[in-house]
């Protein structure tokens, strides 16, 4: 059965290749540190399942130390020049879009089919992991298509992947580290404390204030925790249900739906939601770390107000 472990092997090989290629790049004086960072992540992907938890924790500390003290610095050398790329773009035309669009197309196709494939009575793919396995398979299909169409040197995709990984740098690892932080929060009982504080703060008998406390609270806690999914149980069990559903006889469906959407407004405003707000800053080569958040902020605040009004107007009996 194909499980996530297979995808971790692939990621281990990819980050391992980035380490090896960095090590061999004599044009970059920073190559040792880049290589160390990607090698450590590669170890986590390849062997994390088998290593003791404390060693995995040590790998994190080592990666953070390298990233903080030395940083990741991309090599200056370019694989193809702007003129070569323009010539190639003219030669291939719109056919260049095919492998790129093959990724979503094959993800959807695989998503709809691989869950039902059985070989010798056992399922081919772990049914809980179909979406991610589909994405992994689709990238392999797209890569094969790219090799077949463009006939590049065998190492070219990995040279390019290493270039992209180096330019994204430590931000590539941040979303995974934030997910781990969420688990530590849960183990230490952060949610329970926040929910107790929130519940003790809100005055009863002020309907609009109570509604705002829930929507704004969802957004704020999401800003702090980086994830509306982490904030939702805390705020809904702490404020939403006792105050709005039980206390004010509100419609539980509307309250819960709008509560989650208010959390999404928070996601748009926080660097803690790194995969949405900080990773693109690195991918798009933006000099202001908070550039994406700045652009999203007005929309997020207006939608938070809209959510509050929708909840106040529609969730309660007249």
């Amino acid at each position: 059965m194909i499980t996530l472990e297979a995808l971790y092997r692939l990621m281990g090989l990819l980050t391992g290749a980035a380490a090896v290629l960095n090590l061999g790049d004599r044009s970059n004086p920073h190559r040792i540190w880049n290589a160390t960072f990607w090698a450590l992540w590669s170890i986590s992907f390849l062997f994390g399942t088998y290593l003791p938890d404390i060693v995995n924790g040590g790998v994190i500390l080592a990666m953070v130390a390298v990233a903080t003290a030395r940083g990741i610095r991309p090599s200056r050398s370019e694989s193809t020049t702007a003129a070569e790329r323009s010539a190639s773009a003219a030669k291939w035309g719109n056919r260049l879009f095919l492998p790129a669009l093959a990724i979503p197309a094959f993800t959807l196709l695989a998503n709809a089919t691989i869950g039902r494939i059985r070989i010798g009575g056992t399922l081919l793919v772990d049914p809980k992991q179909i979406t991610l396995v589909s994405l992994g398979l689709a990238t392999l299909v797209a890569l094969a298509l790219g090799y077949w169409m463009l006939k590049p040197p065998v190492r070219a995709p990995f040279v390019e992947a290493r270039r992209l990984l180096d330019s994204v740098g430590w931000a590539a690892m941040l979303p995974q580290l934030l997910a781990a932080l969420g688990a530590v929060f849960a183990a230490a009982g952060v949610g329970k404390v926040v929910s107790a504080i929130a519940a003790s703060w809100i005055p009863a008998g002020a309907p609009f204030l109570a509604v705002s406390a829930y929507t704004v609270g969802m957004a704020l806690l999401t800003v702090l925790m980086g994830n509306a999914f982490a904030a939702f149980p805390v705020m809904t069990l702490g404020i939403g249900i006792p105050l709005l559903v039980t206390g004010m006889h509100g419609n539980a469906t509307i309250i819960a739906a709008i509560g989650m959407l208010s959390g999404f407004c928070g996601t748009l405003m926080t660097p803690m939601a790194a995969n949405f707000n900080l990773v693109p800053v690195a991918l798009l080569d933006l000099s202001d770390r908070y550039a994406v958040i700045r652009v999203q902020l007005p929309t997020a605040l207006i939608l938070l107000a809209v959510n509050t009004v929708i909840l106040y107007l529609f969730a309660f009996p007249l």
Partner: protein, 223 residues
């Protein structure tokens, strides 16, 4: 109360712009210690959770093929296609992508997008290319702003589209949390109540994208 020290570390760390990896790691260690886990247990919890969360990093598997296509001129081609379409301004390109992302996410097709596979190689070069054609002497800060807008359109589109699909993770989480409190909610009704905010998101953000066009063109006439 002490366990909230970790949240304080996050707020202060991000405010003074320390490296986010360092901020998050310190927040984790402070929270674990304050919660009485002890140093070894804290580090083990962090290590275990990090290993269990490796699926988050799987999105980077697209880099070899995206890099290969960039090497062959994908961004340049994306830019040319938009430049040849006179009516496709920066704001309209991003508005079309916002609509596409919202509608496909509402149908459950969340994977039809993303920063590594769509925004960087296709959407950002298209939005930037349109501005290059329409705004003479486009400067670097404007280019950066347009690219940031491309990322924002992807985020806003998927966030305020996906909740209309009944089998998405957030709807299932809502159902689970409410069930814990003894309240049954139907995914179909939750999805219906995501529609008003989705429409508001399209109107609000769409208007801002068209304003971006106006701002870019006003700057041209001023210069």
């Amino acid at each position: 109360m002490l366990v909230l020290l970790g949240l304080l570390v996050i707020v202060v760390g991000f405010a003074v712009r320390l490296n986010p990896l360092l901020v998050v790691t310190c927040a984790g260690i402070v929270t674990g210690l304050a919660g009485g886990l002890g140093l070894v247990k804290t580090l083990s919890t962090l290590g275990h959770a990090f290993t269990e969360s490796r699926y988050v990093g799987i999105v980077w598997l697209v880099l070899p093929i995206i890099g290969l296509l960039e090497r062959a001129g994908l961004k340049e081609r994306a830019r040319e296609v938009v430049i040849s379409m006179q009516r496709a301004t920066t704001g309209r390109v991003l508005l079309a992508y916002l609509a596409l992302r919202q509608v496909t996410a509402a149908l459950g097709l969340v994977s039809l997008g993303g920063h590594a596979q769509m925004v960087r190689p296709l959407i950002a070069p298209m939005a930037e290319g349109a501005a290059e054609r329409d705004v003479p002497g486009l400067d670097d800060s404007e280019r950066q702003k347009i690219r940031a807008h491309a990322a924002a359109a992807d985020n806003i589109g998927v966030f305020f589209g996906e909740d209309i699909f009944i089998a998405i993770g957030s709807i299932l989480l809502i159902k689970g949390v409410m069930a814990q409190a003894g309240i049954q909610v139907l995914p179909t009704e939750l999805a219906v109540w995501a529609i008003p905010t989705a429409i508001a998101a399209f109107i609000v953000h769409g208007a801002r994208l068209l304003l971006l066009d106006r701002r870019l063109s006003q700057r041209t006439s001023a210069a």
